[in-house]
Amino acid sequence: MAGVTELAESLAAVVADSLQVASVEITDLVRLSGGASRESWSFDAVHDGVVEELVLRRAPAAISDAIGPTMMLEAAAMREAARVGVPSPEVLFATADKEPLGGSCIVMRRISGETIARRILRDDAYAGVRPKLAAQCGEILAALHTMDPEALPPMVDGYPLDGLRALLDDSGVASPMLELALRWLELNQPAETRKVIVHGDFRNGNLVINEDGVSAVLDWELIHLGDPMEDLGWLCTRAWRFGGVGTVGGFGEYDELFAAYEKTSGRPVDPKVVKWWELLGTVKWGVICIVQANRHLVGGQRSVELAAIGRRLVEQEYDCLNLLEELT
């Protein structure tokens, strides 16, 4: 466990410097998850009788340089998000370099709460907070869409349909339903309402929930410039409802989300535009199912879980079918 001891020593120096204290002691350093592109470590930093609860998100050394720019974008995004009032973990330190922590990384405060959707949607502990979540999401998104692009590194600003078609073509899978949805989206694209910073993955699983509601918005790696209605539509796609009855994340209704967004932002929400993005999100989910299955089938990453996700393509095709019937 020499690696862990060294990491603790490096963390002690980084955290002491960030907090501007003479020295800290690192305790309870444990690896949380083994994602392919990110490691998560939980630890406490103790100084002057204070216990700071912190997290390290780190790229594995082998891909540290490749992930570095995204890591810096995420850190800048969380800082800017906090500035405009989006609940977000406080970032203490970020680097695109392998030194001093063994990989490009972010050190931030730990947020207490739940991210597992099935618990948020079903456990009694969250019964009181569930009715408030759709409106809170509307308020948070309205704030998020005021983030200043100048505060961040340059971001992707692309036409979403082209990327999805390219992924479909590369996959070798022919899905008439996804194709039909893409064609309809192409022919019925609404005019861009505004061009703002979009989170890009604002949904159940990336929202930390506690007894008061949303305590943090996570995973900023897909942040980009685009139409703000993209975030509302993605939150509403059926796949992110996890079997819940509410149209917004399984926990709330369109009206609650839209009313809160309008009230906070002072801008109108056109439900038809959100529905266009919801359909696009459903197509995107279908493409993700194929891409995940191909990681197993041709990508050399053997996994029954990835293979099984491929069959969830049919769920997205079915949801596309129902949305197209509603829209046409």
Partner: protein, 111 residues
Amino acid sequence: MSDGYPSAAQLAEAVEGFLREEVMPALEGRLHFQALVAANVMAILQRELADGPALHSAHTERLAELGVADDQELVAAIRGGAMDGRMGELLATLRPSVEAALAIANPKHLG
């Protein structure tokens, strides 16, 4: 040579039972979840063995009604605009295929 006895579906059912009744209770965490996924995959196989052939022949007939031979041809026609204006017909024709495929992949998602 015996004619596939027990049948492929019966073998898949035996594996599903083994995974659910013996493997899953002995595991926790990531492996427990992977075993659950594997058991669910075995259930998909059984449904596909029972209903897949009928679905595929019915789907091919539906494609013929639309004037195409297979999904690739239909995809190309849709993308090229040759199917523009036929949305209602396409949705009505494809619905039974999509629903039958979903009944195999995940019947809980129907409705």
